[in-house]
């Protein structure tokens, strides 16, 4: 896959200069190190008639270096290697349509999760006060199903190429934020859940509940942002 990305990046770099648009794809960050290595190696090659032979030699050298780096990576991270070789990972890698299919489900799950959690948080914060709070929590199974869909599709993405996700700082931040959101939900459950019965139509929630809910909205928005930035880190 990296070879294809490398070829796409070099051809895109040529056309991007003409159109003036940045190559908006994950190929850019992944292949950037490879292209810069190739560029620096090529600049030291002799020009003229021997350049073709020199280039093919350089190509072999780069491929050998790449293979060595990959072997070192898999040796250092056996769990990631296991993820890479799962049937899920192989399916996503080999199928053209698997990625958009999984991404669609990832977005649908996100919508289910954030719709319910957002509605509850907004009601606690005072929006739509006519809605009683305790019945709103009956939608939580929808949120859990959405989270489950995202967990499964997320694992599929991760297994398709752990090399891309594992070192990615946005990915790590996103995982940390999801953990924080879970802790926040636990805090809500332990601290405030018993008071929900009292917050019927038109009744404001307590200050503690509002703090927890405001935090929840901020954390989940940050999760969305971190998720979108994975492709750009």
């Amino acid at each position: 896959m990296i070879h294809i990305l490398l070829a796409a990046a070099t051809s895109a770099a040529g056309s991007a200069a003409a159109t003036g648009h940045a190559a908006v794809s994950a190929a850019a960050p992944a292949a950037a190190s490879a292209t810069s290595a190739a560029a620096s190696a090529a600049s030291t090659a002799t020009s003229g008639a021997s350049s073709a032979a020199a280039l093919s030699a350089l190509n072999a050298q780069i491929n050998a270096q790449y293979a060595a780096r990959q072997a070192a990576f898999w040796a250092a991270h056996p769990i990631l290697g296991f993820c890479y070789n799962t049937p899920m990972g192989q399916w996503v890698r080999n199928s053209t349509w698997a990625f958009p299919f999984l991404q669609s489900w990832h977005f649908i799950g996100m919508t289910m999760l954030l719709g319910v959690v957002g509605a509850i948080d907004l009601r606690v914060l005072g929006v739509a006060r006519a809605v009683p709070l305790r019945p709103l929590h009956r939608f939580l199974p929808v949120a859990f199903v959405g989270f489950g869909i995202n967990l499964i599709t997320g694992i599929c993405f991760f297994c398709h190429d752990p090399r891309v996700y594992f070192p990615n700082i946005s990915f790590r931040i996103k995982m940390l934020l999801i953990l924080l959101a879970g802790l926040n939900a636990l805090w809500f459950r332990l601290g405030v859940f018993l008071d929900l019965e009292h917050w019927g139509p038109g009744i404001e929630a307590s200050r503690l509940a509002k703090v927890i809910s405001a935090l929840s909205i901020v954390i989940w928005l940050a999760v969305i942002t971190a998720g979108r930035y994975i492709a750009f880190t």
Binding site: I4, R93, F99, P201, R228
Partner: protein, 168 residues
């Protein structure tokens, strides 16, 4: 029209957008989508009967304002996304499907609003069951918005089809 779009694509504005503004724009687009489809989906699910206990249908009308906020967020960010690369979208069938699904979703939402949410006392009580016609509207609305999301995702990958899997 094509000439206008060519100008837009080659303009300084589009180039500036494509340089650094792209990630924030798609982030706003995703957040707006979560608000819009998530809350509208909740209303649709309630009409279909999920979460019925203790929840009055008409009260959920109060979420409509937030739904509109999400819609405007997505309209504005969508226009900017279109402006960066109109060529990719203007003749694209998938894009037209997406816009079609969005318009259908809006119309169905408006129909649901007039028949259920904004009606006086009839659906103000907790736990009421919506009539079959409105349940059909809610199910269709849900299907339209989900289809819009799916069309949007496939649209993002339609130009990478020649590169292959895992392009995003």
């Amino acid at each position: 029209m094509d000439h206008l779009l060519q100008e837009l694509q080659a303009s300084q504005f589009a180039y500036w957008l494509s340089q650094g503004a792209f990630p924030p724009i798609i982030t706003v687009h995703s957040a707006g989508m979560a608000l819009l489809v998530g809350l509208q989906g909740m209303i649709n699910l309630r009409v279909l009967g999920i979460g019925r206990i203790g929840m009055p249908i008409a009260a959920m009308r109060r979420f409509m304002r937030v739904i509109w906020v999400g819609f405007w967020m997505n309209l504005c960010s969508g226009v900017l996304l279109f402006a960066i690369y109109p060529d990719k979208y203007v003749h694209n069938t998938l894009f037209r499907f997406k816009i079609g699904f969005i318009i259908a979703g809006l119309v169905l939402g408006a129909l649901l609003n007039t028949s259920l949410l904004s009606v006086g006392d009839e659906y103000a009580a907790a736990g009421t069951n919506a009539p079959m016609r409105d349940k059909a509207l809610a199910a269709l609305s849900l299907a339209c918005w989900v289809s819009a999301i799916v069309a949007g995702r496939y649209l993002a990958y339609s130009t990478f089809a020649d590169i292959g899997a895992g392009a995003g």
